[in-house]
Amino acid sequence: MDSSHGSPPVFNNKVIAWIDHRLPIFSYMEKEYRTFPTPRNFNYFWNFGAIATVMLVLMIATGVVLATNYTPHTTMAFDSVERIMRDVPSGWVIRNLHAVGASFFFIAVYIHIFRGMYYGSYKAPRELLWLLGVVILLLMMATAFMGYVLPWGQMSFWGATVITSLFSAIPVVGDSITTWLWGGFAIDNPTLNRFYALHYLLPFVIVGVVALHVVALHVHGSNNPLGIDPKGPQDTVPFHPYYTMKDGFGLMVFLIVYAGFTFFAPNLLGDAANYIPANPLVTPTHIVPEWYFLPFYAILRAIPDKLGGVLAMFGSIAVLFILPWLDTSRVRSCTFRPIYKWFMFVLVADVVMLGFCGANPPEGFWVPLAQIGTLYYFFHFLILLPVLGKIERPLPLPSSIADAVLKKKAG
C-alpha cells in the first residue's frame, strides 16, 4: 500500500482493492485516520475525545451483556441485579465496569468539554461541532439518569420521582406530561419498562450523533492549544501513528484509574441507599442524584420557585448551545487571553462549589451559596463572556504552530 497527501491510496491486496473500488471504506480509513493532517502541538487534554469514545463502546458492550441477565420488573429488578453480582459467571465484573463506567464516561466528557471551552474549540468554523457535542451531553444525561433507575433501589425510585416531577412544573400541560412519562399515575412498572427500553435505545442514538460529531470535526480538523490554524504540512503530523500512539498512552493511564475504582472501590461513587430496594412508602432523608448531576441539581434547588428552578437547570445547559455566539473574542485559546483565562478557572471552581451545594441538604448557608453559584454561572456566560471579548487585549499570537513549537524547544 502506498499513499501520499492528496492522491488516493493504491491497495496491493486484490481483495481490498476490489472492495475499495465499490465501497471505499479502506480509502476512508486511510484518509480520515491515517494520513489525516493533525496539528502537531496537542497536549494531553486532546486525549479525552478518544477516551470518551472508548468509554461509549465499553458502556454499550457491558450494557448489552447486563441486559441479557436483567429483569425490568419492579418486583424483580433489584434482585436480578444482585443475581448478576452473585450467580452470573463474572457478572460482578461486568456490572461494576458498567456502574463505575458511567462515572468515568462523565469524567472524560467533562474534561473534554473543559478543553473545548479553555482553548476556544467552539469558535468558527467549529460551532456545529460544538453544538453536536452539547447534544451528546444531553443524551448522555438522559441515558445515565434512566440507567440509574434500573436497579430499582431507593435512590433509583426517589431520583426518578424528583426528576420526572420537574415536568409537572410546566404550566397547563405539566401534569399530563408527567402522567405520560410515568405511563400511569405514579412511578411503577410501566415507568421502569419504558426507562429500560430508552436506556437501551439512547446509547445508539449517541453513537449516531458521535459519528456526526466526528464528521464535523474532520471538515476543518482539530483545534489545538494555540488556537491558530495550521498553515502547512510543517504544522501538522499524520494522525497515525503520532496521535494513535499518544491517545493509546493517555487511554491506558485513564483506564488505570478507572480500573482502580472498579476493582477496589466500586461503590465509592454511588449512594449506599441504592442498595435498599425501592419503597414508595419510605422517603430517604436526603435524595441526591449521582455526583455528575450535582451542580445542575444545585441550580435547580437554588431558585425558590419550582418552574423557575426547572428553567434555570435546563437553562444551564441551554447556554452551552449559544456559547459560540456569546464569546465575542476573536482569539480562541485562553493561552493568549490573559484575563479570561482566570475566569475559566473561576467557572470551574464555581461548578465544583455548586456540586458541593447539590450534595448537601438545601438548608442553612448552602442555600445562599447555591444561589451565588447559580448567579455567577449565568453571569459568566451571559455577561462576562460577551463583554470581556470586547475589552480584553489578547497577547500576540505566534506566526505559526511550527514556529511556536520550535521556539519552545529552543527556549
Binding site: M245, V253, L255, F263, A272
Partner: protein
C-alpha cells in the same frame, strides 16, 4: 484595568475554595459524634480477605439469633461452602431446617432443606413480618453492609451501641423523648431503634471455643454479613491487581512507542 480584573478573579476563586472548605469542615463537625468508631476489618484494603473462621462464627450468630426476625433472601445454603465448609458440614448445619414447598398434588408441605434452597425466611411475607414487629418489617440483611453509610463499622456500631435507659443523661432522655420501653442506640439515626439489643456476652456458645463477648459476637456477625453482601470481593481484588499490573505494563509500552514515534518531531 487588566490587573484589577485578574486580581478580582483570583480573589473570587480563593473565596469559593475557602467557602467550600469551610462548608466541608462544618459538615464533618456536626455529624462526627454520630459516627461509629472505625475498626480494623480483615476484608479491608486492596488485599483484604474474609476471615473464614470469624465468618463461620458469624453464621452461627445469624442462625441462632438474627434469623428469628431477619431474612437473608439473596443467599442459598450452598453458598456457605465458600466459607471453607465442606458439603457435609453445610448439610449438617441445615439438617434440622424445614422449608415450605408444594408436593406433586400441589398441596403446600414442609420438607427438609437442601443445599440449593435459598435461606429460609422467618416470615412468610413482608406483611406478616411487619405485623409481628410493631408494623415495620425487619430489613433483609443480604446487602446490609453495602446499604448503610459506614458499612461494617456502622453495623458493628449499632450492634454494640445500645445504652440502657438508666445510663442515659436527662438531656438525652428529653432531647430524644426516650421512654423506659424504647431502645436507645448511640449510632442509629434518631437513636430510637425498634430492635431490642440482639447480642450480649455469652449469647451463643461458639463451637470453636472462642469466648463469646458482645464485641466478639458483633465483629463475627459483621464479618459474615460483609461476606454475604459481596461474596465475590476476593475475586474482585485479585482480578483488580492483575488488571492494573497489565495496564501499567501496557501504559509503559505505549509510552515508549509514543516517544519513539515522536522522536523525529521533537
Amino acid at each position: 484595568m487588566r490587573r484589577t480584573i485578574v486580581s478580582a478573579a483570583i480573589a473570587l476563586a480563593a473565596l469559593t475554595a475557602g467557602a467550600v472548605a469551610i462548608a466541608a469542615e462544618t459538615v464533618t463537625a456536626s455529624e462526627a459524634e454520630q459516627h461509629p468508631p472505625h475498626r480494623h476489618w480483615h476484608f479491608e484494603g486492596p488485599f483484604g480477605t474474609y476471615d473464614r473462621a470469624a465468618a463461620q462464627r458469624g453464621y452461627q450468630i445469624y442462625a441462632e439469633v438474627c434469623s428469628a426476625c431477619h431474612s437473608l433472601s439473596l443467599l442459598a445454603y450452598r453458598n456457605l461452602k465458600e466459607l471453607d465448609l465442606t458439603e457435609n458440614q453445610v448439610k449438617s448445619l441445615i439438617k434440622d431446617f424445614q422449608v415450605p414447598d408444594l408436593n406433586d398434588d400441589g398441596q403446600p408441605i414442609e420438607r427438609p432443606a437442601r443445599l440449593s434452597d435459598p435461606f429460609k425466611k422467618p416470615f412468610p411475607n413482608t406483611a406478616a413480618a411487619a405485623a409481628a414487629n410493631n408494623g415495620k418489617a425487619p430489613p433483609d440483611l443480604s446487602v446490609i453492609i453495602k446499604a448503610r453509610e459506614g458499612g461494617a463499622d456502622y453495623v458493628h456500631g449499632v450492634l454494640t451501641g445500645y445504652v440502657p435507659f438508666d445510663k442515659l443523661s436527662p438531656e438525652q432522655i428529653k432531647e430524644f423523648s426516650v421512654t423506659k420501653d424504647d431502645n436507645f442506640n448511640k449510632y442509629f439515626p434518631g437513636h430510637k431503634i425498634a430492635m431490642p439489643p440482639p447480642l450480649s456476652d455469652d449469647k451463643v456458645t461458639y463451637a470453636d471455643g472462642t469466648k463469646a463477648t458482645l464485641d466478639q459476637e458483633a465483629s463475627d456477625v459483621t464479618e459474615f454479613l460483609a461476606w454475604a453482601s459481596e461474596p465475590h470481593m476476593e475475586a474482585r481484588k485479585n482480578t483488580g491487581v492483575r488488571v492494573i499490573l497489565f495496564l501499567l505494563a501496557m501504559a509503559g509500552l505505549m509510552y515508549v512507542v509514543k516517544r519513539l514515534v515522536w522522536s523525529d518531531k521533537h
